[in-house]
């Protein structure tokens, strides 16, 4: 199987992110490979173990390639960085367009991605790429059963109140949700190897795209203003002894917060 995994380096959940001005954020320099992307890489590697073939990790980023290194350390065969100054300011639709332009003439069987990137939390790139390539997609998969890549496969997605089982044929694109697998921890030797690995770089010209297709010129929606999260008033600690504290809580929920 020829598998491509879309990956991204994003701020670590512990990283400080603050509003610097109406249109600018201050992000602490603490990054990790998007949690859901590691699940996607793992899913790709498992399928390669079963059917043979190749896993390629792919990112669109002008600076950060550590997600590619993570992919190689975990066992991916190849890593591609799409980089071009014109990509600055791209929205997820432009990123999807760029990825689709790269993938459209590749002999892929399956494209995997995380359910969303933990920065803009948008979840647009995966379904967007599938739309542009004209292949089916399923979001937030928690199960994947392939007996034969040429035949109908089974995929399970999470829905409210249960799990939905779908069937489809490859080629397809799936976005991966926690619960699909537990991503492997790369061995130290492989991490060292990944540090030295050469990423293949691809620019927009090679994809037949130009500056007007991506970047700030192509956006359809933009940030008017960044805002800090709404502040909660200070906590009211209920200091009475048990069981009076429980009675007091119920009273407050009923009469003050009016939520029950």
């Amino acid at each position: 199987m020829d598998i491509y995994v879309l990956v991204k380096q994003v701020p670590d959940p512990e990283a400080n992110v603050k509003v610097k001005s109406d249109v600018e954020l201050e992000i602490e320099n603490k990054y990790f490979t998007n949690f859901f992307d590691e699940i996607a890489i793992e899913a790709g590697l498992k399928l390669r173990e079963k059917f043979g073939g190749k896993v390629t990790v792919l990112t669109v980023d002008n600076k950060k390639v550590d997600a590619l290194r993570r992919g190689i350390a975990m066992g991916a065969d190849d890593a591609i960085q799409i980089t071009d100054p014109a990509l600055e300011g791209s929205d997820p639709f432009a990123i999807a367009k760029t990825l689709a332009a790269y993938l459209k003439d590749k002999p892929f069987d399956l494209i995997l991605a995380g359910r969303q990137a933990m920065d803009d939390d948008a979840g647009i790139v995966g379904p967007g790429v599938a739309e542009l390539l004209g292949i089916p997609h399923v979001n937030m998969i928690v199960g994947l059963e392939i007996d034969d890549p040429k035949k109908e496969l089974k995929v399970v997605r999470e829905v409210e109140g249960g799990k939905e089982i779908l069937s489809c044929f490859l080629p397809a694109l799936f976005t991966c949700q926690k619960g699909l697998n537990n991503p492997r921890i790369p061995q130290v030797m492989n991490v060292m190897k990944a540090m030295k690995a050469q990423m293949k770089k691809v620019d927009l010209a090679a994809l037949g795209l130009s500056a007007v297709d991506v970047g700030g010129q192509a956006v359809k929606i933009k940030v008017q203003k960044y805002l800090p999260p709404p502040k909660r008033p200070p906590v009211k600690m209920i200091k009475e002894d048990f069981p009076e504290n429980v009675k007091q809580l119920v009273k407050l929920l009923k009469e003050e917060a009016k939520v029950i």
Binding site: K18, G162, L227, V250, I260
Partner: protein, 329 residues
């Protein structure tokens, strides 16, 4: 372009999700400012009940009732919705930030080449019909107000419980039946089954009240007391990453950065320390209650009401006390 605001009236097994009524109520408010027509778009099979539940909430309902649409797939919905949107050119298209909304809307927006704001926690409208969508970024560490450029419709998915349902809209919708343009068997993807989760509780993203326990619950079987508390409040039971990673609870109930964001009216956390991963998932809950044995637990910094105490003592007592309070209602 028409001056219509469309709401995707998502239904499952013939029942329209509450978030659709929330959005129709918000759209009715917007229409007072913009003079828009509010339309619901309802797709599925055997939709009589669903249609009936919607008619007082919209001016128009575009109805696609077809056996080929019995189960949702993005392929089938897109093929039916896209031509309709192109024909009628609504100025706005809203949907719930549900598993289906988040599956369909990005693909549809890409197909229509228009702007889309996912997982919003607020929407406002200007008199000229320009939508401003507010959404959390970086798991809720910051928020952004997004505005749309020229392309229409302005699309957004919105979290459950962002708007209140207005039951007094008293509209009587004109129903516009649309016939299916395609043979559904030509589609590449199909749904072959639905495995329902045990119990009848709502998903934690949909429930108005969520009660959760973290590692402080000590063992998976102890969640029984949480279930009992939830039953009194018609609430759902959530949890933290720690208990999911231990294999005590299903990932579908995990609140936080690698789990789900909830916007409950009331959220109560028991034995939850308040790691940033978890806090990020409850940022838009209205009232937060925290109970933990550690007076320095971080969760208290994010709560409205706090009790330092043992959950094994508090939870059963609270269940009893709430039973009394609910009986008085």
């Amino acid at each position: 372009m028409s001056n219509e605001i469309w709401v995707f009236a998502e239904q499952q097994e013939g029942k329209v999700r509450r978030v659709a009524f929330e959005l129709l109520s918000a759209a009715a408010d917007f229409s007072k400012k913009t003079g828009s027509t509010v339309a619901g778009i309802l797709l599925g099979s055997g939709l009589q009940e669903a249609l009936k539940s919607l008619t007082s909430y919209a001016d128009k309902i575009y109805l696609l009732d077809d056996p080929g649409l019995a189960a949702y797939t993005s392929d089938a919905y897109l093929i039916h919705m896209a031509p309709l949107i192109k024909e009628h050119q609504p100025s706005i298209l809203l949907g719930g930030a549900t598993s289906t909304g988040k599956d369909l809307f990005p693909r549809l927006a890409m197909h229509l080449q228009t702007g889309y704001a996912p997982d919003c926690t607020g929407l406002t409208i200007e008199e000229n019909g320009k939508l401003i969508a507010k959404r959390p970024l970086y798991g809720g560490k910051v928020f952004a107000e997004m505005i749309y450029l020229e392309a229409k419709p302005q699309m957004a998915t919105v979290r459950n419980n962002t708007f209140l349902v207005n039951q007094n809209l008293n509209k009587s919708a004109q129903v516009i039946p649309i016939s299916s343009p395609i043979d559904p068997s030509s589609l590449k993807k199909k749904v072959i089954g639905l495995e329902k989760a045990a119990g009848a509780k709502l998903d934690i993203t949909e429930a108005e009240i969520v009660v959760a326990a973290g590692r402080g619950i000590k063992a998976p079987e102890n969640f029984k007391i949480m279930e009992e508390l939830a039953d009194v409040l018609n609430a759902s039971v959530g949890t933290t990453r720690a208990t999911v990673d231990e294999g005590w609870r299903d990932v579908k109930d995990q609140i936080g950065k690698s789990g789900k964001n909830i916007s409950a009216k009331l959220y109560m956390a028991f034995g939850v320390s308040g790691a940033i991963h978890h806090i990020l998932g409850i940022g838009t809950c209205k009232t937060v209650v925290a109970v933990d044995t550690d007076p320095n637990a971080l969760i208290f910094n994010y709560a409205d009401y706090g009790i330092v105490g043992d959950l094994f003592q508090i939870v059963p007592a609270l269940t009893e006390e709430l039973k009394k309070a609910m009986a008085e209602k």
